[in-house]
């Protein structure tokens, strides 16, 4: 009975991300217990803010968590990944700045309400998603290749939108989204993530999005004969991801009130895909677990923050990340898992044998 219990736990999809999280926590605890300290201080403008590594993780993991939501759906339905999210964040962010600042790169006041700019960014993000989605669903191009197009062109398009200028948003309110709202010590991004999670949970509960995406991802032709329109479902997941991209772009641009076309959200597509994979979701599509992906996103941010704590240069960060990623995937590989479970079985069997012999 104990054995089946262990199997149930280790077999669960959340097992890998939770174990990874625990492992990281333990390493940090041993090296520097101060890692987990959260302090309430004040920032430059005298407002109360929480600080500490955990807060950093929650704060900076936000974009990743939001993207992981959309990426999970895209992965489930199309069996492929969108590698253009970083580039489309640049596009959506650039569009947002264009609306906020107009043609003037150093305006005195913002030229349009923030909400309008955000809605424009949403439309732009969804259009990019629709472009990818159309290539994938209508023209049946593999997702990774279809999104390669925007991946290659995205940052160029973003630069083109603002004529390669770098406008700066003058309104301090715009900073709230990626920072703190005066009087509230918790980073705003945390609330944005919670809002996104609530929305997706409600959507999954009150629509058949989950069932349909999984069905399409597992067996497209069968789904079609059950009355589902696979083309539309795939298209829809890309549009949803586009919306997630717009929200992530808002946070990214808000953090610095401006944009750097070639650097903004760089490599974030890789992290988002890793989050999905780390969450134990098959990258070849089909069944998915949304919570697992979101947790995966924070694990990756946890790793990044930990590495920074160890004074790893930001450029060299990727090498360490790669090693960790490889170790993780090796341990979650089915071949390795069966090997280990076989090993355990052998050990426990020989243990039993010895006991019996002793009797």
């Amino acid at each position: 009975m104990g054995k089946s219990m262990i199997k149930k736990i280790t077999g669960h999809q959340m097992f890998i991300p939770i174990m990874a999280l625990l492992l990281l926590a333990v390493v940090n605890l041993i090296v520097d217990p101060g890692f987990f300290k959260v302090t309430l201080g004040t920032n430059n403008s005298g407002d109360p803010v929480l600080s500490g590594s955990l807060i950093t993780i929650l704060d900076y993991g936000s974009e990743l968590a939001i993207l992981a939501i959309g990426m999970t759906l895209v992965t489930a339905a199309s069996g492929g990944q969108d590698i253009s999210v970083g580039a489309t964040i640049a596009i959506a962010g650039s569009a947002m700045l264009r609306v906020l600042c107009g043609t003037n790169t150093r305006p005195e006041t913002i030229q349009a309400p923030i909400i309008v700019a955000f809605l424009v960014a949403c439309v732009v993000g969804m259009l990019c998603g629709a472009f990818n989605g159309a290539l994938v669903s209508i023209f049946k191009i593999q997702p990774m290749i279809a999104t390669l197009i925007l991946f290659t062109a995205g940052r160029s398009i973003a630069a083109w939108i603002n004529n390669n200028e770098l406008p700066i948003v003058p309104d301090p309110k715009f900073k709230y989204f990626g920072g703190f709202i005066p009087g509230i010590p918790i980073p705003t991004t945390v609330f944005i993530v919670i809002a996104c999670i609530i929305v997706i949970v409600l959507v999954l509960k009150f629509t058949n999005l989950g069932l349909y995406t999984q069905a399409v991802g597992i067996n497209e032709s069968s789904s079609k004969l059950n009355g589902i329109n696979p083309t539309f479902i795939k298209f829809l997941t890309f549009v949803i991801l586009g919306l997630c991209v717009a929200v992530a772009a808002l946070i990214k641009v808000s953090r610095i009130s401006t944009i750097n076309y070639s650097v903004i959200a760089k490599d974030i597509e890789m992290d988002a895909i890793l989050a999905v994979a780390l969450g134990g979701n098959a990258l070849s599509g089909g069944k998915f677990n949304m919570w697992s992906s979101i947790l995966g996103a924070y694990v990756i941010q946890f790793l990044t923050t930990t590495l920074y704590k160890f004074n790893v240069q930001s450029d060299a960060l990727s090498a360490y990340k790669a090693v960790v990623v490889i170790l993780l995937v090796i341990f979650s590989a089915p071949a390795v898992r069966t090997y280990f479970s076989g090993l355990f079985a052998k050990i426990s069997a020989s243990g039993k044998g010895r006991k019996e012999a002793a009797k």
């Binding site: 023209f139 191009i141 990774m144 160029s156 390669n164 890789m270 071949a335």
Partner: protein, 348 residues
């Protein structure tokens, strides 16, 4: 049922997918080049223009060939750009700081490529981990290692043997042209181009005539069937990654020979260019279809269009990205439409 009825008659259907896509690519390349000559004139009429394209893309040709092989066998390797950067940096440090030998530096490049191939190949083939994830980590690792070896970009200046090799030009007889002053300027290519073209020929022969080469196609076409047909699928996958990474190592050396410097930002996005070239050259990401000659033309098409764009005066940085993307988009659509037409034609 008569025999003729079963064998679908027309040429379009009879041709294999590989050949069909190859022909499309080659035709489009020539049309594009002719178009460039007509509309841009000048440079494009001189053979040196073509040679320049080859000179600056020799490394891409080599890595793209490796990419094609992995893609034909149904995988993908996005670590090649990182490997190229890592090779450049390692060789630069070895030659410049340690005054190493040419042979030694080449062995370093080869060793990095082989090591990458063995590790990634083992993970993909024998542990069944998705190639995208493995090579993603590989890319991260290579980029990170490059910075760890040396943070700042620098040129190799203290190794005369290398500088001589770098300056070596091979004159192509009969292809030169007269400049405005009427002085004959001989056409030349770099050593890297020779390496690239030799590799293209070797790889073409390997893919067409060896058991291993055909296994790549079989595994890419249908893994399960290939297994049933008695092909060692794991070993085949392993070799596809081994060859790809080794080629990335060699490509890295050719790249290094062309630029003569080490930098963490070298070959940024080269993996995407390699994938794009392969696709434009008629390789299908779904595996089983592709051709090395097509890949060569894919690289040439890609850089020709870049040249056309920049000589048309659209040389702001963003136009390059947008053009490549547009071109990729067009080719993907062509592939998609052609394949669908064929399927429909075969069905009825």
């Amino acid at each position: 049922m008569s025999k003729k009825k079963l064998i679908k008659g027309n040429l379009f259907n009879r041709m294999s997918d590989t050949n069909l896509l190859l022909i499309i690519t080659v035709v489009i390349f020539f049309l594009m080049y002719i178009g460039a000559i007509i509309f841009q004139g000048g440079g494009f009429t001189k053979p040196q223009m073509l040679f320049n394209i080859l000179n600056s893309n020799a490394a891409l040709i080599i890595t793209a060939c490796g990419m094609s092989i992995v893609m034909i066998s149904g995988g993908i390797d996005i670590s090649v750009g990182g490997v190229v950067a890592l090779v450049s940096m390692s060789c630069a440090v070895y030659l410049d700081f340690h005054n190493g030998s040419i042979i030694g530096s080449f062995l370093i490049a080869l060793a990095i490529g082989l090591a990458y191939g063995i590790v990634q190949g083992l993970l993909v083939a024998y542990l069944d981990i998705q190639p995208f994830i493995v090579s993603l980590a590989g890319m991260f690792f290579a980029r990170g290692m490059t910075t760890i070896i040396n943070t700042k970009p620098f040129n190799v200046e203290n190794n005369q043997a290398f500088l001589n090799l770098k300056q070596t030009r091979i004159t192509v007889p009969g292809m030169g042209s007269y400049n405005r002053k009427g002085i004959y300027v001989p056409a030349y290519i770099e050593i890297g181009v020779v390496v690239a073209l030799v590799l293209v020929i070797i790889l073409f022969l390997v893919l067409r005539y060896t058991k291993l080469g055909r296994s790549f196609y079989a595994v890419g076409g249908n893994k399960q069937s290939a297994l049933m047909l008695g092909i060692n699928v794991k070993r085949t996958k392993f070799f596809s990654h081994l060859i790809c990474s080794t080629l990335a190592g060699i490509g890295g050396y050719v790249y290094f020979l062309h630029v003569g410097s080490g930098s963490a930002s070298h070959a940024m996005g080269m993996e995407m260019n390699a994938i794009a070239s392969s696709i434009i050259g008629g390789t299908m990401l779904s595996g089983g279809v592709g051709n090395i000659i097509g890949t060569l033309f894919g690289v040439l098409s890609l850089s020709t269009i870049q040249n056309i764009v920049s000589s048309a005066g659209l040389d702001q940085a963003w136009w390059t990205g947008i053009t490549i993307a547009a071109m990729l988009c067009i080719f993907l659509l062509i592939q998609s439409v052609v394949m669908r037409q064929r399927k429909r034609a075969l069905k009825s």
